[in-house]
Symmetry: C2
Subunit: 405 residues, 2 copies
């Protein structure tokens, strides 16, 4: 019988699971504030393919209603994913290696369930997705941050951290990483770093959880192969890989997937307690995706988000050059990561920025315990209108300059 | 760092969570066998409201697309649930007391997450839903069965079991019960038993998880108020209550809900790791439900399932009278529960029944560890055609009689 955190004043304390003692809901959903919102990693709402999804819904309901309204799993979507992996990434995996999930949130949650006992340790990037941190906290895990630079996670730092833990008798269960168009830093790991990270996982008998949430949203040049594909080629079986349809189709359909070694996937699906991933949403998404509609739609999204990145970079150049603020130029995804000059605190700055009409995510919201994010700002260009970007950055720049003065 | 079950030959043994050592997926989904299937607790596939759901999908996508395709929660469905509780059950609760979930599977899984640490103990009916047993097993819980009779769970037996556990220093975290049209026994607890069960929960400081999956599917007479409503009236705060839209609308939309004391619901939603329950499915279901469409549809379903129950009872009377086989006549829901005469084993009988063209769920599939279900058979009339019922029961009766001879 567990004893919950006594600092809580919940009348159910003596009946709560340990993990529940401090649990509170993470804010999810559309913003209510009226200011220019560089805050949210939400997909652009004007570009959802309303007409095509309505047509796909009607067609799927009328033709496959008995399947999509019954218990089951969205098999046609799983088939589409396997086919796309084969066609676009030359990676052929078995149907038993993949599970369609309720977004990558559920994918990451399932990986946590299959691998983590309370008290276990994992590694992650020092700046990372706060949704994943929330999941790992719920799993009663200790999350150890590893240093990054503009090229993402630094393999040597990962190895050093593993050795440091090893000296304490601790083996990390896995390394959580977003190697491509990283959230929040926008960084992308080179293929050399990816191969080095795989070597480390193999050498120290640990796993990698690769979150590829921004798949498809590459603005230019070649994107390195995923850790999953590299692992597959080398037959190591060290990578669990998850993606979502939230950024490339519609977050509200709650569709994503996780793939990995069959031995692990068998156990993972055995812990999936939701009665099957939404067949209604899944079959409709698969109908929509046919005839290259989804592939073409992603190309449209790339144009939209690239344009916004360009507008934001231009505005940053115009308004923040010479202030000591630095930023990256992401090759894809949703985010630009600002580093403030010494002495500025992004948390303290936030109310002033909001007063000036612009909102952002302070670095303190995207760090595991023990990391100081106060010098950083995440700017998202995904959920603002093109014409909001320049005035939003101008307002932010004005706030920063006033604080510097 | 955990050490997984060494009997497993999984190469990832030393990286698996303890709960994952024996995890395997539970079969969910439509049957593939051609025989008459009294096996599955699936909703009737011909009665899904295809046209109305297609219309609701188109309307919702075109009018609320920016909401239903974005991150969020299906707020209109939560509002519909609260309104229905108020109108139909005179139970008014706050929006903070309810969470829409992916079916009652996710609801039960969340209750397990918020209340159960590994090694905790819960009580449940000696015959119960195997999906819930799967969830409790994944939660590394010990499930203690409590005796039932034709009136469902016996409160005196619950109290005796709690005292027995108390003597061992163990307090059960909650009592899982399906008090209405129970799965698999079809039994319904009287209001007296419900009140007695509440008293016990209060007296011994434990909770009740009430699974009301067959809500609305009452064939005749008054159904007793739910434990949730009785608890609400008495302001005890002892009941977590879950329902599903799987039986009354469409299982494939994966919609259900859980409600309970606000203090618990706050923690429960904090452990909900799926990025929000499917807004796409949820908003469409809420649009469909308007103008009494769902309420009228449930009345149509009652006629369909009552007719099937009547056909099955008549067939049992015709073919099994005098054989020593006994059964209940359920007042609602999907199931008839057969008790075989001494010496017959429903597991051993199954291949013979299948050979004769009829399938069923043996009692051994619906019992916690330690309960012998081999004298029992669950017959479901929900997923067969009217005209299959009499021949199916005749084939089963022939098999039973041959085994008795």
């Amino acid at each position: 019988v567990s004893v919950a955190d006594k600092s809580s004043e919940n009348k159910y304390d003596n009946l709560l699971a340990k993990r529940a003692a401090g649990a509170v809901a993470r804010g999810i959903g559309a913003p209510t504030q009226k200011m220019i919102a560089f805050t949210y990693g939400l997909p652009d709402e004007d570009s959802f393919p309303f007409n095509d999804l309505a047509a796909a819904a009607t067609k799927t309901i009328m033709e496959d209603g008995k399947t999509i309204f019954q218990y089951g799993a969205p098999r046609t979507l799983a088939a589409y994913i396997l086919e796309s992996l084969r066609l676009e990434e030359d990676t052929t995996i078995a149907p038993t290696q993949i599970a369609v999930t309720a977004g990558s949130s559920q994918a990451i949650s399932l990986v946590a369930r299959v691998l983590l006992d309370p008290g276990d340790v994992i590694l992650c990037e020092e700046f990372t997705w706060n949704g994943a941190l929330h999941i790992f906290k719920n799993a009663e895990t200790t999350v150890i941050p590893v240093e990054m630079d503009e090229g993402g996670l630094i393999p040597e730092k990962v190895e050093a951290k593993i050795l440091e833990l090893q000296a304490q008798g601790i083996k990390p269960k896995f390394i959580y990483t977003i190697p491509t168009f990283q959230n929040p830093t926008g960084s992308t790991m080179s293929v050399e770093r990816r191969l080095a990270l795989l070597d480390i996982a193999e050498k120290y008998d640990t796993l990698i959880l690769e979150d590829h949430a921004y798949h498809g949203l590459a603005f230019e040049g070649d994107t390195p192969p995923t850790l999953f594909t590299l692992d597959h080629e080398r037959k190591l079986g060290r990578v669990l890989h998850c993606r979502t349809f939230s950024k490339i189709l519609a977050a509200g359909m709650r569709l994503g997937w996780v793939a990995g070694p069959e031995d692990l996937m068998v156990r993972l699906t055995g812990l999936k307690d939701d009665g099957g991933t939404n067949p209604f949403a899944g079959y409709i998404a698969a109908t929509y995706a046919q005839e290259n509609r989804l592939r073409n739609h992603i190309q449209d999204l790339v144009k939209i988000y690239r344009q916004r990145r360009d507008l934001m970079v231009a505005a940053l150049d115009k308004h923040l050059a010479g202030t000591g603020v630095t930023w990256n130029v992401p090759a894809g995804g949703f985010f630009i990561w600002l580093k403030l000059p010494e002495g500025l605190d992004s948390g303290a700055l936030l109310p002033k920025a909001q007063e000036a009409g612009v909102n952002y995510l302070p670095g303190t919201s995207v760090v595991p315990q023990g990391v100081d994010g106060k010098s950083y700002i995440r700017l998202s260009y995904s959920f603002v209108k093109d014409e909001e970007i320049e005035p939003g950055v101008a307002a932010l720049a004005k706030t920063i300059k006033e604080s510097l003065a």
